[in-house]
């Protein structure tokens, strides 16, 4: 561990003036925020506000038009491909549908990153993969194909894979989408537990209010209309004190046409 890790409140991920667009269509404009090591940052906002797009650019799938994304003291997009791959290996991502590789079994899915990026023996790889699966409550399902699993199990499988390389940061894209309230609650509990025990930093994109209040240490609110970051802070504080009506209405689940 480097010295930076000891400084508990230093930002592990930071975005400064990031603007994103698809072709000519601007999605987000001038977004700036910090994610603190060991905390859960929730990215919230209505549908179509660019939450998932922001996530894409944080993990290296969409280059920002302007602005910088930094991991620790490294500028992510200014680095060359090899450097960026190295940084990528410090984080894991859970996609909306789990995005498990459909041609492989669950165990192979979790072991592949280990096989590729570590010098471990096949036996050790298998042991670690099985341990990660049991961490998300899927031990014994290793030989199942993704198609044979339910939506919730696929998501947990995706989480096991995202954690395979012991990442410092975990990104979640809509963890509760398509899950029943109980499964989504369990996933929230799992996030809290992992945060506490492993000290992983979480960046979670979601619009589910119960999840937001359950897991967030900090949050940012993106707005579809102005295409900017409208507010940041702890969701409970934002709900009670935010000066922007939109943010309060969102967090209180009030419709603005009434």
């Amino acid at each position: 561990m480097n010295s930076e890790a000891n400084n508990i409140s230093s930002p592990i991920v930071s975005a400064k003036g990031v603007s994103l667009s698809y072709g000519d269509y601007v999605v987000l404009h001038d977004v700036t925020f910090n994610a603190i090591r060991g905390q859960a940052l929730v990215v919230m906002g209505g549908s179509g506000c660019g939450k998932s797009t922001l996530l894409k650019s944080l993990v290296g799938l969409l280059e920002p038009v302007s602005g910088a994304i930094r991991y620790g003291d490294q500028d992510f997009w200014a680095s060359d491909n090899q450097k960026r791959d190295e940084i990528s290996r410090r984080f894991g991502i859970l996609y909306q549908g789990g995005a498990l590789w459909s041609s492989m079994s669950l165990l192979e899915n979790v072991s592949l990153p280990l096989e590729m990026f570590t010098e471990l023996s096949p036996k050790e790889v298998r042991e670690i993969a099985e341990y990660k699966l049991s961490l998300v409550g899927l031990s014994g399902f290793g030989d199942f194909r993704p198609a044979q699993l339910s939506g919730g199990m696929r998501k947990r499988g995706g989480l096991a894979r995202a954690m395979s390389l012991d990442p410092e940061i975990l990104f979640f894209d809509e963890p509760s989408a398509g899950l029943d309230p109980l499964s989504s609650r369990r996933l929230d509990d799992l996030i809290l537990e992992l945060k506490e025990t492993l000290g992983i930093t979480f960046i979670v994109v979601t619009h589910e209010l119960p999840s937001i209040f359950a897991i967030a240490d900090d949050s940012i609110f993106l707005d579809a209309e102005s295409k900017t970051l409208l507010a940041c802070g702890h969701p409970a504080t934002l709900r009670d004190e935010c000066s922007e009506d939109k943010v309060r209405h969102f967090l209180l689940r009030q419709s603005n046409f009434s």
Binding site: L61, G97, S102, M116, G158
Partner: protein, 385 residues
Amino acid sequence: MTVEQGQSPLGRVNCKVEKGVLHCRFTGRWTIDTVSQEASRLSWKRGLADEKDIIKVSFEIGEGAEWDSALVVFIRSCLIDCKESKLSVDMSRLPSGLCKLFLMTKEKLVEKVELDGSEQGFLTAVGELVFAVAEATLSSVHFLGEWTLSLFRMFRFKSRFRPSDFLESCRACGAAALPIVTLVSFLTGLTMAFVGSVQLAKFNARIYVADLVSLAMVREMGGLMVAIVMAGRTGAAFAAELGNMKLNEEIDSLRTFGISPMDFLILPRTLALFVMIPMLTLYADVVGMLGGMVVGLFVMDFSFHHYIEQTQTALSSMWDIYSGLAKTIVFGGIIGMVGCQKGLNCGNDSAALGNAVTSAVVTSITLVVVADALFEVFYNVMGWR
């Protein structure tokens, strides 16, 4: 009008004017399963047009009337008419449920959201087509370049695909294709022998059927038939598989792990085709000649020995076989790369996936036929025959 027993009569609107107020009373059955309400629309229009001095329209619903969306839509169109002729509307006598339905849709009453670029002139369409073609060409070249880089990485042992993936692809596009390749090439040989025998009989040169079938299979038909079967079978499968992986974000998840989809998914698939297509072609050549021999032995009554000997003489120069096989390596490359590229560049919905698969098959068959012709011209110009 006759009314069926047990059913309320068809929906009608009665318009009556009282002190400058047009009273519209809806009676009968206003449901979407009744016949069209055009007649009522006419009587509403007439009611509105006849009276010049009305200032207000009032809607009400008659005793025992049934209604659903049909009435809502009718009144909505009335409201638009009222708005145009600047009449005030009184809806207080309508049932509260019906009024709520209007309130819910009030803001969307007249405005229409314009879809971007829905209307375009001829010149715009031509311009966009040119850009689309240019972009498609550029992305193909880009793909080819990436593929080549990935191949170099593999030779330097830096590429990261699993040998088992390569073997699985070989099985899927090689061994698993044997039955259909057998059928198609056997029948091709058989058909050519039949067609040839009729023509050659005119010159009293029937034994040359053996030459015709063996040369045609080896030089041309074997490779072409295999390529067409592979384009429909494997090219389509590649496009569908990769397209589906893209829809599922599986490709994205490979990328974010720092695993290049080119190295991990596309290289093993295309290399498998490179290796398997020439082998399948050799097999198809042999089966096609067998098909010809069946006609030679059982229809034209040549002896087995005679037919084999004639075939051997025809194929005495190995060049015919090599030239046929050389082409198929290129065919394999075309089919594999087109299939993978279409899948990887697939859009984000299931319709786009269908388009990607169709376009993969059509493009690869077209390119294979073009490449085949170019090869023949090339051989001819170089005098290799």
